[in-house]
Symmetry: C2
Subunit: 234 residues, 2 copies
DNA sequence: ACCTGAACACCGTTCAAGT
DNA sequence: ACCTGAACACCGTTCAAGT
């Protein structure tokens, strides 16, 4: 990565952190770099490539082997050491921490193929953990996509507002008396509690480990389970 | 919903379907409606509210009780009849079909709280299905968020390109010889297959049903499982 | 009550020109 | 090799004015 390109991307990331993705314009980035908008193009290509580059740089930091110039960033994901549940948990927490630290990145992750060298390395860590858990090889890529979708989707929902804020528990109440929300009516006690998102994320991770263990178990035995397409032992 | 507002939103949706979300400008929508950009503001509010309104209108169509003026739209989600796995599957398929029919909607779902009347009704269908499956009440809202995150995230990944296209299986090969991708090296046979996304979605749904059943089982028994935070029977 | 027209402060990107 | 300046075709939104 040419040094100038890295500088431009870091300026753009800082701008997005401070004022949101909408504030990241070629003109605004150029001004912070101290240059004319047109001077960015040889290094960046265009606006879409600028956004790709910003995301790629975050992913690169995420995978640094602990304490390499990533000051102020969330701890990088552990590499291939330790029991598989610990490795899965570490990667998942790093991903969520990245999105919380840079909420604007959430929307970008879903929009670009995960095929940059850095994101492929992240995927590889998950592959290895799933294989070590005993998941049959033909099911590993699918399960990796499901896991990363949950982690990214959870963080994106938190950061983007889909999970809502403090005032929304009341928003469904107007629809209750008319009886159009029978499910909510059966849950009122549970719905009025404030949600601890850290705890919910950890509970989701625990449940996914339950699922992974179940899949590994049905893959190991000679008797196929009732669900899932044809598969074979890796 | 005032008739003019509905007309404006439908024009904006058609524009997004035809030319992408980036083509949806106040000016372009106004031109199609046959009016000056400023004439939209009393009905719409501003650009952000226009996007919210577009998404809300899609959600409304999704929940129509089968065959009410939703010509050319994906089949609406089944209401509260039938076994819970069928209901869950129907809602999940409807959500994915909506995103495939209107790919631009994927990015919006994560960015807005799911508290409009229509999205609350969709959530209620999932609550009811999970309760009928035997999931303890305190775990139902969390599980609903996990399920909808998987469905929306899967569809968003498909529509947005995160899952990649035909050519990307080759993209990791350059990194294999150097040994930085041990997980991929153990999976080459599985990674070279073309992916059937319909089948993968169905397999994910089947696995989520396995997980739901496991949670219902541990909630019913007096012996708590090793994973998950404190919980109580509904 | 509903809409228009001009204006303001922005965009991304091109092109030809400078050093 | 690297950067600038002017220009083009756009944005969302304001405000005062028209009917």
């Amino acid at each position: 990565m040419p040094e100038k390109r890295a500088e431009i991307l870091d300026v753009a990331i800082a701008l997005a952190d401070e004022r949101g993705l909408a504030a990241v314009s070629m003109r605004a980035v150029a001004e912070r770099v101290g240059v004319t908008p047109m001077a960015l193009y040889p290094y960046i290509g265009n606006k879409a490539a600028l956004l790709d580059g910003m995301l790629g740089r975050l992913l690169g930091r995420l995978l640094l082997p602990a304490g390499e110039e990533a000051a102020g960033e969330p701890r990088p994901a552990a590499s291939g050491e330790g029991p598989w549940p610990d490795r899965l948990t570490a990667i998942a927490r790093s991903g969520r921490a990245m999105v919380i630290a840079h909420p604007w990145a959430a929307g970008l992750v879903f929009a670009r193929p995960a095929v940059t060298p850095d994101s492929v390395r992240a995927v590889d860590l998950l592959y290895t953990a799933l294989l070590d858990a005993g998941v049959p090889a033909p099911e590993v890529p699918r399960l990796e996509r499901m896991l990363s979708t949950v982690v990214i989707g959870f963080a994106a929902s938190e950061a983007g507002g889909r999970f809502g804020s403090e005032e929304d528990p009341r928003s469904y109440r107007g629809l209750l008396p008319s009886g159009v929300l029978p499910g909510h009516a059966r849950l009122t006690a549970s719905l009025d509690r404030r949600v601890d998102w850290d705890a919910e994320f950890e509970a989701d991770l625990a449940d996914l480990q339950v699922l992974i263990t179940a899949i590994a178990r049905r893959g190991a035995g000679p008797v196929p389970g009732p669900a899932g397409p044809g598969r074979q032992r890796g």
